[in-house]
Structures are given as structure tokens and as C-alpha cells.
Amino acid sequence: MIKIDNIDKWYDDFHVLKSCSLEVERGEVIVICGPSGSGKSTLIKCVNALEPVDSGRIVVEETDVTAKGTKLPLVRARIGMVFQHFELFPHKTVIENLMMGQIKVLNRSRDEARRKAESLLERVGLSDQADKYPSALSGGQQQRVAIARALAMDPIAMCFDEPTSALDPEMISEVLDVMVELAREGMTMMVVTHEMGFARKVARRVVFMDQGEVKEVAATETFFNNPETDRAKEFLSKILAH
């Protein structure tokens, strides 16, 4: 469903992504890991063209995201995105955060958008926070709202950019629980994360990146038990040690 085909990207003279390719099937959960600066976040942001690529192609369900003239807003609306720092709209209440895209992009009526938003808030366990502003919520709550905001657009796939790395340790599980549930319902997910427990639980495959390259793509158990590359072995030994 998502086909990343040999993409390259430069920031001035820094080569962030080097001929990266990856295919994600419908309903598949893929975890992308690797040391910081390896290009994981950039890769995931290329999928909905928040970062343009310099060469190569990305196709999402027949739509070439990288082609000139593609209506990007329509493509993006179908791919949910969750950011490291939540990025809720601070001047809007929680429920308005969930309604904005539905009204402005999908042209749903206010009532329809509100009903959808309310049911999603209930799903992430935040019905009682609907009329608060994001700043009044804890990090874990904000991230759950951010997930609900993305789901409000009825996405065909979800991208997560280190969704738990800005959270206090005790709030990580409340966000991961929502993500696990989503994965079990069959959502197609690309998740950049260092939460290896989450990866083991729901990921079908793990992608290991280093220095802008996709070094290894392997079935989850294979990756953890028997990584192919030395760099992945070293990485795993460091993050699984603690």
C-alpha cells in the first residue's frame, strides 16, 4: 500500500536519506528504529510529503506522492501523522482539534464532526477533557488526543514519529496501549520508536536505519534474535541492555 522506491534526500550538502526503499502492506505494522540522526523521522515525513525528496518515488495506494501536481492535501488527509511533541493546536480546545480537519478538509458538518470527535475521545479515554485546552492536559493525554485527531480523518494508514519519546515514563504505556489496540484492529502503521516491547508485541517487521540508509528489514523475531548486520547487533545490545 505504501511503496517507497529508492529515495534520496539532501539537506544542503548533508545526505539524509540514501537510496531508501521500503514497502508496507495493508494492515501491516512496521517499526523503524536506529540511532538518532539516522534519517528515521525524515523518512516517515517523506511518506506524506511533509519533507520533499530529491529523487525516487513514493506511492501511496496508486497515488504518486512525489510527482509534481499531486494534490498533496488530499493525500495527506488520508495518512494520519502523530508527532513527537504532539503538536496540538494550542488555541483550540481538545474537541475543536479533532473537528478542524473534518470540517475544513472533509467538509463534514459541525454536528457530524462533533459526533465523530466525541466517539474518538471516548475511545482514547478522554471524553471528560473535550472542552479543555491542550495545555491543561498531561503529555500522555495530549498524545492520545493527537492520535484521535489523526483518526478523525479516517486515515488509511498512520505514521508515528517517536510518539512516546517526549513522555514521562509513566505515561508511555497509556499511549502505547492505544497504539496496540489500533494495530490489532488492522490499521496500517509505520512507527518510528525505540519502544522495543511495542515492536515485539505488534510489529510484523522491523526496519533498522543507520546514517541515512535502510540497513536491515526483517521479520520482528528474526531482527531481535538474529540481526543480520553488526551495526544492528550493536544497536540492539545497547538499547536492550537496560
Binding site: L50, P73, R76, H85, E87, P90, G101, S135
Partner: protein, 238 residues
């Protein structure tokens, strides 16, 4: 100092009428100029943040041109030079037939100058917004224009209320320069009362008090706007 204090002149006609007429012109100049400054300044400030480099450069050129020339010089250029540079018929109309030429010129000059300053506030407000917050808007399918309408501008205007307050105050004070091209605003009327009565201290005290009243009202108004629109949880919010 041998000075004959006589506060009562301030309450005699025609001097009382002059003061109020001056006050009225000060308000008319400043508020009309502020409308121009706010609208034009917002547009230019926004254009300074768009992806197109040519547009950004032109907007930056406007800002640098108008904020780096003394306001008094600008006022004289608008009044004495610009009409000569216009196409002949339009120039003649401006010089001969345009109603209230001093007033119009003062408003345009003050508006264009303050617009450059407002543009800088608007630009910096927009640029304080994190890239990923804008990305979050794009990710739910908003167009770049919609991210301005629903995210960038609503947030940045709330942030810049305090610096805009200063610009709004300054425009009232700068409006006094309009007297140099013959607008009989508050300062000009105070000077006229001094010329007629030799009671300069009283006249300028009255002008000072009136300016203070205006600016304090502006401060109150802007504080109210700030409180009403402030984003909960932002810096300084209760």
C-alpha cells in the same frame, strides 16, 4: 520665573473648541493610519514568510525602505514630492481637488511607515510557530493557505498583542508630526493657543494630558484584547 498662570484660558472659547478640534484630528489621523498600518502591515508581514523568494524579497524591501527613513522626511516626500511624480492629471487632482490633502497625506504617510513596523511584528509572530505545528496542520490535509488562516495567524496575532500595543501607541504620538504639513491636530492647536494667548504652559499641559488619556485608554483596550484572546497555558497567562 515670572509667569502669569491662567488656567481659565483653556476653558474659554475659542480655545476650548480648538483643543477639542485638535483632539478630534489627532484621533482621525491616528486611527485611519492604524487601519492602513494594520491591514498593509499584516499583508507584508505574511508575505515575508511565504515560500516564493521574489515575493519575500519585495516585502522585505518595503520594510527596509519605510522603516529606515525618518518619518518626517517621509511625510515631506509624500506631501511635496509624490504629487509631482504622479501622472500629470492625477498629480493635478491631488494638488488642487483632493479634499483635505494634508489630512489624506498625513494618514497615508503615517500608515505606510507604521505598516513596515507592524509587518515586522507579524512576521516574527508567524516565525515563532514551530515547523511541526504547521506540519500537523498540513498532515490533516489543510492547504498551506489554510494553515495560515486557521493555525499560523490565529496563534501569531495572539502572541504579538503586546508589541502591537506599542505600535498603536506610537501612531498616536507620531500623528503630531502631521502639524508640519498643516493638519491642525492636537499639538498644532496647543501651539496656536500659545500664539494667541501666550499661555504656553497651560496649552501644552492640556495637550499632554489629552495625549496621556488617549494612550492610557489604548493600553487598557489592548490589555482587554490580550486577556480575551490569550491562549490558555501560554507565557504570562493566568
Amino acid at each position: 520665573m515670572n509667569y502669569n498662570w491662567n488656567w481659565s484660558v483653556l476653558f474659554q472659547e475659542p480655545y476650548l473648541g480648538w483643543l477639542f478640534s485638535g483632539l478630534q484630528w489627532t484621533l482621525l489621523v491616528a486611527i485611519a493610519a492604524w487601519v492602513i498600518a494594520f491591514v498593509l502591515g499584516s499583508a507584508i508581514g505574511i508575505l515575508r514568510t511565504v515560500p516564493n523568494r521574489l515575493v519575500r524579497t519585495l516585502a522585505a524591501a518595503y520594510v527596509e525602505l519605510f522603516r529606515n527613513i525618518p518619518l518626517l522626511v517621509q511625510l515631506f516626500i509624500w506631501y511635496f514630492v509624490v504629487p509631482e511624480l504622479l501622472p500629470e492629471e492625477l498629480g493635478l487632482w491631488v494638488k488642487r481637488d483632493m479634499p483635505n490633502p494634508e489630512y489624506v497625506t498625513a494618514v497615508v504617510a503615517l500608515g505606510a511607515y507604521t505598516a513596515a513596523r507592524v509587518a515586522e511584528q507579524v512576521r516574527s509572530g508567524i516565525q515563532t510557530i514551530r515547523k511541526d505545528l504547521v506540519n500537523a496542520g498540513l498532515a490533516i490535509g489543510l492547504t498551506p493557505l489554510q494553515t495560515y488562516l486557521y493555525i499560523r495567524l490565529p496563534i501569531s496575532y495572539r502572541i504579538i498583542v503586546p508589541p502591537l500595543t506599542s505600535e498603536f501607541l506610537t501612531i498616536f504620538k507620531n500623528s503630531s508630526l502631521a502639524l508640519t504639513i498643516g493638519v491642525l491636530e492636537l499639538t498644532a492647536q496647543a501651539r496656536q493657543i500659545e500664539n494667541y494667548t501666550f499661555q504656553g504652559f497651560e496649552a501644552f499641559t492640556a495637550a499632554t494630558v489629552l495625549y496621556l488619556v488617549i494612550t492610557l485608554l489604548v493600553v487598557l483596550l489592548m490589555r482587554l484584547i490580550d486577556q480575551k484572546t490569550r491562549i490558555p497555558g501560554s507565557v504570562g497567562a493566568n
